[in-house]
């Protein structure tokens, strides 16, 4: 099960809507071993594409070095699908390389950049095997409600 705060969920959804029709991507870092998704880091989609995403290689290294320095790990790795359902594609499954992470998929196909509900689903992807898991959104976030969790802006 993925447990995530309302603020973190909303930040991911807002990023996906903003970048629609391109795929948005990022991570939520948390203390190593805690399974707590605490720090949203929006990443640039270096592919700049409606059908593909890839973290920029320089940003990727900077991100991991920062996490190592803070004893963090990627608790959530998220990206959006903009014309298809929020389910991992064959490419997503083939390239998934963080067996400990929750892979969150958001689909913006229904409302695009506009207000309205989105599909928000979470999966484990281990050795090519996909397992969907429950998403529990809690209103007791680790951050104050008015604190910006998005540090990349």
């Amino acid at each position: 099960m993925l447990t995530i705060s309302t603020a973190t969920r909303d930040a991911i959804v807002a990023h996906a809507k903003r970048d629609h029709p391109d795929e948005a991507c990022g991570i939520v870092a948390g203390r190593e071993g805690s399974d707590r998704a605490e720090r949203v880091v929006e990443m640039i989609n270096a592919a700049g594409s409606p059908t593909f995403y890839e973290f920029d290689s320089g940003e990727l290294l900077a991100l991991y070095k920062e996490m190592w320095a803070k004893d963090e790990e990627p608790v959530v790795i998220y990206h959006s699908h903009t014309a298809t359902e929020a389910y991992p594609s064959r490419t997503d499954i083939g390239l998934a390389s963080e067996p400990g992470a929750h892979y969150v998929l958001v689909s913006t196909r229904a409302h695009g950049n506009s207000e309205g509900p989105v599909e928000f689903r979470s999966y484990r992807i281990i050795d090519g095997e996909v397992t969907e898991e429950e998403v529990q959104v809690t209103d007791a976030p680790p951050h104050q409600p008015n604190e910006h969790t998005n540090e990349s802006e």
């Binding site: 795929e23 991507c25 991570i27 990443m43 592919a47 594409s49 409606p50 059908t51 593909f52 995403y53 890839e54 973290f55 290689s57 320089g58 990727l60 290294l61 991991y64 790990e73 790795i77 990206h79 699908h81 903009t82 014309a83 298809t84 991992p88 594609s89 064959r90 490419t91 997503d92 390239l95 998934a96 390389s97 963080e98 067996p99 400990g100």
Partner: protein
């Protein structure tokens, strides 16, 4: 000649769970051969054989594996021929990527 190589989570099955290992080599190619000698199987996860268009096979870094030497992506520093020196830091990171199909 000791070079620290940072290993990502998904490849630590080859390093007995170690986050980083030491290896040696004057170039990345040599370093990867040295890694392979001590951690069999690792090389195949980093390199692949590609056709260069003339029908000749060429060994290169896998498309979705990133290698950095002292924070520089080796795709911009000479690829597998990138020269290494004692004390250099090498980081291996799988790309974070995907798509809708």
């Amino acid at each position: 000649m000791a070079i620290e190589v940072r290993i990502p989570t998904i490849l630590r099955t080859y390093t007995n769970g170690e986050k980083s290992v030491e290896a040696s080599g004057a170039t990345l190619t040599a370093l990867i051969d040295d890694l392979e000698a001590n951690h069999p199987g690792l090389k195949d996860r980093l390199l692949e054989t590609k056709s260069d268009g003339d029908g000749e096979a060429k060994i290169d870094l896998r498309r979705f594996v990133n290698l950095y030497v002292n924070d520089e992506d080796v795709r911009f520093t000479g690829g597998l021929e990138t020269a290494l020196n004692d004390g250099d830091q090498v980081v291996v990171l799988p790309a974070v990527a995907g798509g809708c199909s």
